[in-house]
């Protein structure tokens, strides 16, 4: 089961700062743990994909990312989703403040 996510998106200096938190163990497969990690993180601005990323098990547990989007206005929709190596997904949507 995917744990909670949190996100904050704010307009600053004509751009939109996005900070997103994800609950995930991000285990490396070493020391008897399973290899279990988020592989893809996608950021959408008003439904349009603006950032696509591939990440490895080297990203820390409970990943936190900050991104910067061009422009943006209060009330715009930001969506961040992830997909892990077991095919589980989660996403969060928030309005720009």
């Amino acid at each position: 089961m995917a744990g909670p996510m949190k996100m904050r998106a704010t307009v600053a200096g004509g751009n939109t700062d996005v900070r997103v938190l994800m609950t995930h163990p991000m285990t490396t497969g070493q020391g008897g743990q399973a290899l279990y990690f988020i592989q893809n993180v996608t950021v959408k601005h008003n439904g349009r994909t603006v950032i696509e990323s591939e990440i490895s098990q080297a990203v820390s547990r409970n990943p936190v990312f900050s991104f910067r989007l061009k422009g943006g206005a209060k009330g715009d929709t930001i969506e961040v989703s992830w997909l892990d190596n077991k095919g589980e997904t989660n996403k969060i949507e928030a309005a720009v403040a």
């Binding site: 820390s60 990943p63 900050s66 095919g87």
Partner: protein
């Protein structure tokens, strides 16, 4: 009967899961590479040119290798992707971000580092590749109990 049903359900689940996984790309050969060179080859960015236009903001010393914060900004015009390579990790490629029209080539993330090592950031712009490195010392302070 039951077994047959389970098999059919399993096949159905596998079939359903497939297109989902196929939707997102994950560069298995680059992320599975065991040397920084192979990792860069894997993302098609072998031999990047050194650049001062990539700014890596990270502490020189990380108290705990499990959480090493790295903030990256590329000032190279037209930067379309940023890759993070942790030179001494067993699998050096940690992340690759592709920025579309609506995003600035900026990212902040936390990574795990096995030991004191260089962090190499490779930015791609207009089909060319640029790199900057920064050393981060990792002191994993042990404690009793």
């Amino acid at each position: 009967m039951n077994r047959l049903r389970r098999t059919l359900l399993g096949a159905l689940a596998a079939w359903l899961a497939k297109p989902l996984a196929a939707l997102a790309a994950w560069n298995e050969s680059a992320f599975g590479a065991k040397t920084p060179q192979d990792a860069l080859k894997g993302i098609g960015a072998a031999n990047p040119a050194p650049s001062k236009e990539i700014v890596i903001d990270a502490p020189q010393i990380a108290e705990n290798g499990a959480v090493v914060p790295i903030e990256i900004t590329s000032n190279i015009p037209g930067t379309s992707s940023i890759a993070v390579v942790l030179e001494k990790n067993p699998f050096p490629l940690a992340a690759k971000f592709d920025f579309g029209e609506g995003a600035l080539p900026y990212v902040k993330l936390n990574v795990k580092m096995a030991e004191t090592a260089d962090v190499r950031v490779v930015a791609s712009a207009g089909g060319r590749h640029y790199a900057a490195t920064r050393e981060i010392k990792v002191t994993i302070g042990g404690c009793g109990g």
